[in-house]
Amino acid sequence: MSEKILMCGNEAMAEAAIRAGMDAYFGYPITPQNEVTAYMARRMPEEGRVFVQSESEIAAINMVFGASAVGARTMTSSSSPGISLMQEGISYLAGARLPAVVVNIMRGGPGLGNIAPSQSDYFQATRGGGHGDYRTIVLAPASVQELVEMMYLAFDLADLYRVTVVILGDGFLGQMMEPVDLDKRPAPRDLPVKDWALTGADGRKQNIVRSLWLQDGVLEEINLELQATYRQIEANEVLCEHYGTEDADFVLVSYGIMSRIVRSAVRKARCEGIKAGWIRPITLWPFPYEQINAVADEPRIFLTVEMSYGQMLDDVKLAVAGKCPVLFYGRAGGAVPTVEEVLGQIKKLAVPVA
């Protein structure tokens, strides 16, 4: 029987990646995710696998590019400023159709910002921070247990669709300790053979991994293939959960660690007789547009709560499509909306109009 152990998010995620069969890890130190790199440095050689501390995040993502191209399961992790540097590489991964997992344990920005938890990289993660028409799957865990389970899922989705999967966590999630069951994992997917991998043209034709297509019309075709993959992901991989939305007058939308604060605020509101509910997107791309849109069929007020100044808000508005009002409450730069603050926001809305 598997048992629960107490681990911090960063270490639990690192161990889960190893158990998910990751062959190679590349990373550059940055707070608040240094525990990942340190854990990998210790554990990967024990498993006879690859660990390299790179000279920069640009190098780290390109090492991932190389390792992925030769068929390895590979990942890197960083925090906001480092993820900015990786955008070139993530665009190339998309263009070359290479699977990879990138973990962003977000911290305050812009610029060097601070090392406090934040959710300010939503735009960058969900809109593709690099150049070109591409998407990355974005998973937003809300507990250490979920972080663990999402590592298994991330590697499978990356290999299945040949895309980059971003795990979008924050400094809280990376640093906090929670009991986890490391063996609890989602059902493994049926994965295609990596016949495109560069393993040496031994008894087969040359394999080429590339993202440059100069001939007339070819790049459009490549883009259409990518788009077809993205449509497939949107159709099959949306994850979200909700509570109390059947009768709620107020629907709070939040993700990641923020959703736990929102949950408490909604519970308190219910105790005070206010009909509140919540929706929590688990995949930020593909975003649960349909699920949120369905909830907006009844007249309600939506309140998006983020540790940012309103990024997911745009997606919630797109989902609601003008059917209901969508309001926002958020703080960032290291500030975190408290349960009381969120409850206060709900109560403000619930005041009967005289």
Binding site: V50, E55, I58, N62, F65, A72, T199, G200, N207, I208
Partner: protein
Amino acid sequence: MQTIFERTPTLKDCPTHYCPGCGHGIAHRLISEVIDELDITSRTIGIAPVGCAVLAYNYLDVDMIEVAHGRAPAVATGMKRVHPDKIIFSYQGDGDLASIGAGEILHAVHRAEHITVIFINNAVYGMTGGQMAPTTVEKQITQTTPRGRDHNNEGFPLQVSEILAVMPGTIYVERCSVSNPGQVRHTKKSIKHAFELQMKNAPGLSLVEILSPCPTYWRMSPSQAMEWIEEVMVKSFPLCCLKDLSQS
């Protein structure tokens, strides 16, 4: 009839997109011949740069990857660490290796990666229209040094091979040229040596710098370009073996 010379199989039988008199074609052929002579086609993985040689995979018949500008040594690191038994080489221009990718090559050497680097120094950025490269020589006229490179404004030519040769992470560094038949033969020997060291898992990076003509952006005839290498370019980039630890 007796065949006395054949195209080496790793070099594909097709015309290239290179300008007349360009050195990339010669370098491609030498690499192909070496791969065939060492019989490593089935376990070699090549890395094409951003630059005129970006389409090298259209000419070299081995598994190949095209990477972001200057990042080849980092990509090579990822590949070699996962597959130490494969022969990994990057093929990089001077803008790619000495400018935007200076950090990546320095740190691949710093980590003593067991890879081979073919460094094509043509003293300009060819693909983007002949701008100054870090390797542009003093007084050389380029699109972005219209009055000639002046060290008061643009600094001095960057001798990357000399820098890398003093680092413990290189096992072999040689600067050659393709400016005459003798040099072409010597360049091939150097490339072969570099690959052989990797095959022996020699502890370090092997690099061959090749002074290579760009008649188009040097605004010269192909033969003048060969002369310019020998009369002008070698003054900033002397032809020599800068390091060979396999001899000691």
